[in-house]
């Protein structure tokens, strides 16, 4: 809603105050870096989703006569890997695995972490101490080490990767959720709501969650890129997705020995991880700025 008011001779545009989410949308629409990152990401996700239709070859079918074909080889736009499998097809299919392995733990952490954190923050007292001290113990491990240690003990496989990465990210989200809840809880309007007779459920749903979910969401979104790097890293070590499935980290691992024969093809899966993780980082930066959340 904009109205033009004549002020002397200069027309001044007076905008009606926008709602919070309209403001966020308005800011995002003007942030070119974030839009670009979002576009790149949409492309990556779409190509992973459509891999069965887009991939020109079977990602697991190789040919010994066509090993390590260079980028631009006839029939294989991005070359072939050490077993003669088409790189383009494997990168498309690999994206599915990497995205699932990277996004699921953050999703789990968002749901579980927000639940536990809000609970700890709202209840306070013994419940808070119990939950938060338990989370502190997981903070005693550097994240990479914790993920590798748990995966190493559990053994390889996608399910174990998801479990170990969820254990890494849940405590982080709990911390943010708890401190956001404690902050909001002490604000006057919560006291006012309680004084006017609102029940616990109404206060949590309408007043608390509405105000803490934003920061928790933004924080969780900043963790996606790390989660993707770690998920691919676990398969790079041989602890994640098992061969012959295509996964970016695993592809990087099996192609490592071939850098002396063909330098460009082995670099491709890592480039895919890099671009994806950077797009997620830029997107979450933009989201944080647009939502005016600090931290």
């Amino acid at each position: 809603m904009a109205a033009t008011v004549a002020l002397g001779e200069v027309p001044v545009v007076v905008a009606a105050p926008m709602s919070y989410w309209r403001t966020v949308r308005w800011r995002l629409a003007r942030d070119r870096a974030t839009l670009l990152a979002g576009g790149v990401l949409a492309l990556i996700v779409l190509s992973a989703l459509l891999a069965p239709w887009l991939a020109p070859y079977d990602p697991t079918a190789g040919s010994i006569r066509l090993r390590l074909a260079p980028v631009g080889a006839p029939g294989h736009v991005l070359g072939t890997d050490e077993q003669g499998r088409d790189m383009l097809s494997r990168l498309l299919w690999g994206g599915r695995m990497t995205l699932v392995a990277g996004l699921t733990p953050v999703l789990v952490a968002f749901v579980l972490g927000a639940g536990l954190g809000v609970l700890a923050g709202y209840l306070g007292g013994i419940a808070n101490t119990l939950i938060m001290r338990t989370m502190d113990v997981f903070y005693a491990f550097p994240s990479v080490l914790l993920a590798i240690a748990i995966s190493g003990a559990l053994g390889p496989g996608l399910a174990n990767t998801l479990l170990s990465l969820s254990i890494v990210f849940v405590p982080r989200v709990v911390r943010v959720a708890e401190s956001a809840t404690v902050q909001v809880k002490s604000l006057e309007y919560i006291a006012a709501a309680r004084a006017s007779g609102a029940g616990v459920r109404a206060i949590v749903r309408h007043h608390l969650l509405a105000n803490v979910l934003g920061p928790i969401l933004v924080f969780s979104s900043t963790q996606v890129s790390l989660s993707i790097i770690l998920a691919a890293g676990l398969s790079f070590l041989g602890l994640g997705v098992t061969p012959p499935a295509a996964e970016w980290g695993l592809m990087l691992n099996t192609l490592r020995q071939s850098i002396y024969v063909n330098a460009l093809v082995p670099a491709l899966p890592g480039l895919a991880i890099f671009v994806t993780s950077m797009a997620f980082n830029l997107l979450s930066d933009g989201l944080r700025d647009a939502m005016e959340i600090r931290g």
């Binding site: 990479v144 070590l237 993780s277 997620f280």
Partner: protein, 312 residues
Amino acid sequence: MWVYVGRRLLLAIPTLLGTSIIVFAMVHLAPGDPIAAVMPAESSQAEIEATKRAYGFDRPLPVQYLVWLGRVARGDLGKSIATRRPVVLDVRDAFANSLVLALSSSLVAFGLGGVLGLLAAFRQGRVVDKLASAIAVVGVSVPHYWAGIILIIVFSVQLNWLPAMGSANDPGFVEYLRHIALPTVALALIPLGVITRVVRSAALDILNQEFVVALRAKGLAARRVFTHVVKNAAPQILTVLGLQFGFQLGGSVLVEAVFSWPGTGYLLNLAIFQRDIPVLQGVILVLATFFVLLNLAVDLAQTVIDPRIARQ
């Protein structure tokens, strides 16, 4: 302040105990029987049982934990199942190698990141600032194991300037530097990104405070203003430096795997694939303990620099 220091020291004890429980639990997370996995295929059930008793695997879990904790407290991390060597010896050598690598990459990352972050803050919106932002985003987004492979492709395979693997045996100083150069750069990428970003925002926060405007207004030289800003941003930056140093020591598994650097990460990797649980436990316990103590040291150092923290 001493009350705060005492409380902080006491708080570290439950954390360390919790850490030890998690590390102990790892053995029992592992699917299958840790003993059966390393025994020769033709060993009889009686032999397996005997080995289990020898390692104490036949007793109830809480007893096993206490016995294990007691031994750990005396500096005995058990024997490697694969090599029969005391785990302490392997972990000690590996830890020394990892420490050197973490120190050298910290030196690079902290130095470069600090300078870039400060330049960016004082030249906000200019080219340096944009460059610093770009480096920060790339640093935190790049999979460092891939960056390591790219470094090998460029500097070892194509240019043939630097070795791609490990640390040379009895190499001499120059040769040692040549071996540590590439892993250092690969490991420094993430902290470089993080530190550039943190130093920039910490310095900007201080620059926007009223007292800096007042200092400038009274005509203080730019260099003296700079000193004030750095001093005030120091506590916040110090925390991040401490954390990042710990991450580099504990998070170097992937980089060490790429370069076959004989540190804790390499040892851990080896232990995982040989299913050598005592070594796995030993490495993780030592690294986690170091990490907890490092955080403690950073917290205490902070209260010394900024007494306001203790009063909160």
